[in-house]
Subunit: 478 residues, 3 copies
């Protein structure tokens, strides 16, 4: 194949010629800056093993819930896209084993992704990273498949080689609070400290109504060496693990809750609920109250140890119980709900919001809170930064609306810089690139409308593309 | 009058010249496609009778609640616009009987409609269908009135002639679940099957707290021939009516509820509440719970018989009890409220959301749910399609925002195509035309920003203007 | 200094050249119209005293909570910006006493305001009113300070001189319901009636749970000469004060509540709660219910006496109790919450919504209600006008979105015209100018997209910039 798939160099920049000229200049000022990827979900094991990726379906399709859910929404079953059944479901439906068939199914349905960020990211990956000659289609599916197979077997396409090729300066993974952090220790030895860092995610330990909770608490005792037999031991074990994460280079914690409620409980109530949970008899309302209480505790610990607290409430996980039963979590059936921050964060902000050591980054999938709640909070409390538009909002129109909704009240400097939040390793450069283009377009609009001089726009571009993320996620006690 | 009122051929297309050129090409690719009008409220009797329209006020003003409410909001009374009082109100306020006076009142207030879709539609109707020479004003009100009177007396302006002139391929009316469907049978004989089809609307049967409910249930027994004396008979009668609608060509059902709650009740509770209602003693909380329960039942029936379920919650009807008392429903005083789908639809989607036969189209007048709830739901469940922006949202800015909010997550192919939702027959082409222009503008933006190639934009235009509605509202078991 | 700081004459107009040309023409049609400032918070004492402003920090920084909160959000303390501690706090933290140091701190952080309306307003004030030679920076801070000091000592920069220079036709202040209105009487003698008028703000009298309430009620008795010892006396005293405000030229009342609830209480309940409150033992739920009840009473009085009722719910005041304790209210820590109008206003609108004498202007900091609730309400009830985007929404992007969200349903003529809502006297022209530019841009878009002819756009511009505010706030019984 000697053909060449050339992406539009001005893609995702504003269409109006004068504004586009400005945007191009601003974009180019930031385009080559190293990637700072402080919130993502690539498995650290990928880098520790540093093996070649498997086949194209395993690399690009089956594990990408953005992509799978779109095909499912048009009538495909998860199994047809290679998503396996969980053990013990008794499901008899076939699961496609042929990666070429999965790839072909995807190529035939390329039109379904028109206008979506999935399409933008894939075009970038396929054209620029994997150097395919043309967009996928029914006709070229097999040829593309063969070419992709050959490419991903090359040594310079192994994960660590790609990390360099993709110009990633620092990458944060998300890790169970129970992780022994061994892979991170190995990588720190190989790559030097601070290139790949862990993030502390304690959700499974604070949602005490979950059937697996008691087992997790036992593991927490083991890994921390702290007795978790009562509530105070539990808190001590969490403090211990946070410290271990800090020593392994962690910059932040990550908290996914259904609501942003941070109301603390009286200690006696927390102790009682913890005791009930250990005995397997926690009431749902108590479990909810305990989750809120633990957000408050996490804020208190953050104010002590300096880890940045990332909070992203408002997604109802596993909306379809059938999909969850058959295939488990993260299959595209997590659906956002309305979210509230002003009342819910008040307990934490009233107590720690002005503390010099406390830092908190807020994410949402409910865009209505940007102008109403998040920008006003971030534009007042020194501890609050406004996270990048995330998950369903990580797209051109949404990123534009984010700037148009948040900057006027919060300014640029109370935002945290871009986070890619991805499980799809190869999509990281595409995501950062798209964000830089949209930010360049927004800055160009300010310049074109006489609202910002060009020299300040250029300076702001570097902040948005690079500096702000480094500052917002600076190591504790820096 | 030899003057000519020429509309801007590029109206409602983007202003930026290069994008406009693209948009014009895309629009022209879809502009002449036949109209597929699958959700509307034109009375089927209009076509069955096929009489000339009365006077201009009766044709264009008095029955158009968009138009009437705007004049009322500026101090006119409904009566001044010809809206009659209901029987027995004892109202002494005069009702204008002179259609020319009503028309003049409208013309003098043409400026009030600046920037509204009512204005866009009327310009299209008046200039292109009725070929008036100039926009309405105090000066030309009488001359326009006379010309309109002459036009609407012509045989080629009778309803069925207009249906051809307006290039309507298929038109769905909305019909009481109690309708004998006789007019539809007549029209199927005259026009052939599938040109004008009914839609099953059972709202009055499931809102059991309404004073007229018991009478409706008696009629249901009569028309269905099924004893509605208990809850199971009620369900059987509804199934019977749905079958009759399917045989008369229906594609869909239509459900207007205050909330989207679909929580089913235990059968015994449903039976008890139904019994209470028959005895005239239903509690408000029970009536609400029953309405939610019946949405679940309707979904179950839809999964059986394949009628598309259309749901549009979130409007508080008859906000002013005085207007309702004097003039009845649909007088411009229905006001939207916040709406929630993620939690509320979970019972139905958890049970039927993956069923091959179940199809559901969701409408909203609360635009905040597009990106937060509706696009994620439609982008995951194969049964869900996202309805067009509807009622208050059927306007240029809102249609743009709909695309900008929904497409990135749901794609184009989980949307249902345009529906005009109108009682104003002559406005149908204007509404479809505006939608095509806005969609062309959105597609042109994607092309101009390098996010979609032109050939794909042209193909998508045909889908949005024509194919998607045919697919989304395909006949059951097709 | 002979340098000159020249603002872009086309700032805040659309970037696309043809649309900008239209916008410039439309803007110029309205740019020189006198300012009608019907909702503001400049202290009437400023005009009554008519003394020179103090130093630049006192003029521009310390009292401007928009500006202070942004610096606080980046780590400064209120004290460093000159905000004093309240008496009796025991705070030991230093408060900056050197206005030059405060000014320098601001200049060094000019970049933090990139993209914010604060920046737009300050550029306008500093360049056009105070004729500074260049934007603030660390380098020129001292020189600018000296120049500002010299300027504000000039007689032609005293408040009343500025009022003329700024082309203010009428300015409404906001005044405690307890005010003796003496300053207003003095100014009416000096300036003639109707140039500076009071606004009746009774919040402190209707929020009966506040510790200071009983004292206020005593003062109410004194100033009104009506015994406030029971609920009926309280209402009579309020009527008395409203009458006094009308006689002093007031056009409107102003109501800030956490919610828009207007549910009236049975008279006996209102009497009991009032009695409880006088005895210092009111329950929080009763206090809330009483506040809602009093909004209903205020609407009833408005329907009697014709004062325009302004309502702006939805802001949680003093979110940080530490900031409130140290520095008091209005320090940038008021944070919006979600707001609801459709249900909450129903009691008032059902009773008074169609009354010829009742007029109500609604404000929000929750932009989601514009299209969902406020535009439909204003587009139906003759008594309702939709207030300008306010507080956090008084910015270029938000003002655009306001038009894009509200006009299609409410039209232009159910909006109230611009209000500047400012405590910062010198920012008034900048705020009106920005509003006119954004409105011109919106009108230009309608023209460019063939949705409005140019002559109608020009006429609408005058309405938006001038006429609508005069009409919406016309004196009672006009």
């Amino acid at each position: 194949m000697t053909e060449h798939w050339q992406l539009d160099p001005d893609r995702a920049l504003p269409a109006e010629p004068a504004t586009r000229d400005l945007a191009r200049t601003i974009y180019q000022h930031g385009a080559a800056l190293p990637l700072v990827s402080m919130h993502g979900h690539v498995d650290v094991g990928l880098f520790a093993a540093n093996q070649s990726f498997g086949d194209p379906a395993e690399l690009l399709i089956t594990p990408d819930h953005y992509l799978v859910r779109m095909l499912v929404s048009q009538g495909y079953r998860h199994g047809q896209l290679g998503v396996p059944h969980r053990d013990g479901t008794g499901a008899t439906e076939a699961v496609e084993r042929d990666p070429r068939a999965i790839w072909r199914r995807f190529c035939e349905n390329w039109h379904l992704f028109r206008g979506t960020p999935t399409r933008y990211w894939l075009e970038h990956e396929l054209a620029e990273i994997f150097e395919l000659p043309a967009p996928p289609s029914a006709d070229n599916a097999d040829a593309l498949y063969d070419q992709l197979c050959a490419t991903i077997q090359r040594d310079d396409f192994r994960p660590l080689a790609l990390l360099d090729r993709m110009n990633v300066q620092v990458l944060a993974t998300t890790d169970s609070a129970l992780s022994d952090l061994g892979a991170h220790a190995d990588l720190a030895r190989t790559l030097g400290p601070g290139r790949i860092v862990p993030t502390f995610r304690p959700d499974s330990l604070v949602h005490i109504g979950h059937p697996a909770w008691a087992g997790e608490i036992d593991q927490l005792a083991t890994v921390s060496g702290v007795d978790t037999g009562d509530y105070n031991g539990f808190l001590a074990a969490l403090r211990n693990r946070r410290r271990a994460f800090i020593e392994a280079g962690a910059r932040a914690t990550d908290h996914g809750h259904l609501t942003a409620d941070t109301t603390p409980l009286p200690a006696a109530d927390a102790e009682r609920i913890y005791r009930d949970a250990l005995q397997g008899s926690v009431r749902p309302a108590d479990a909810e109250a305990f989750a809120a209480h633990m957000l408050y505790q996490m804020a208190e610990m953050a104010a002590e140890d300096g880890l940045v607290m990332q909070l992203h409430p408002g997604v109802l996980r596993n909306h379809s119980s059938e999909i969850y039963r058959l295939h488990g979590p993260d299959q595209g059936f997590d659906i956002p709900v309305r979210v509230e921050f002003t009342h819910n964060l008040r307990p934490v902000l009233d107590r720690f919001g002005l503390s010099p050591q406390f830092r908190c980054i807020l994410f949402t999938t409910d865009e209505t809170v940007y102008s109403r709640e998040l920008a006003p909070l971030a534009g007042a409390y020194p501890s609050i930064r406004l996270g990048a538009p995330w998950w369903f909002l990580d797209s051109p129109e949404q990123m534009r609306r984010f700037r148009e909704s948040a900057v006027e009240t919060a300014g640029f400097y109370n935002t945290s810089g871009f986070v890619d939040d991805t499980r799809a390793f190869a999509s990281i450069p595409a995501r950062h690139d798209l964000s830089r283009r949209i930010d360049a377009g927004y800055l160009a609009k300010l310049v074109a409308e006489g609202r910002l001089p060009m020299d300040e726009a250029l300076d702001t571009m570097v902040d948005l593309a690079h500096r702000l993320a480094l500052t917002a996620y600076a190591a504790p006690n820096n």
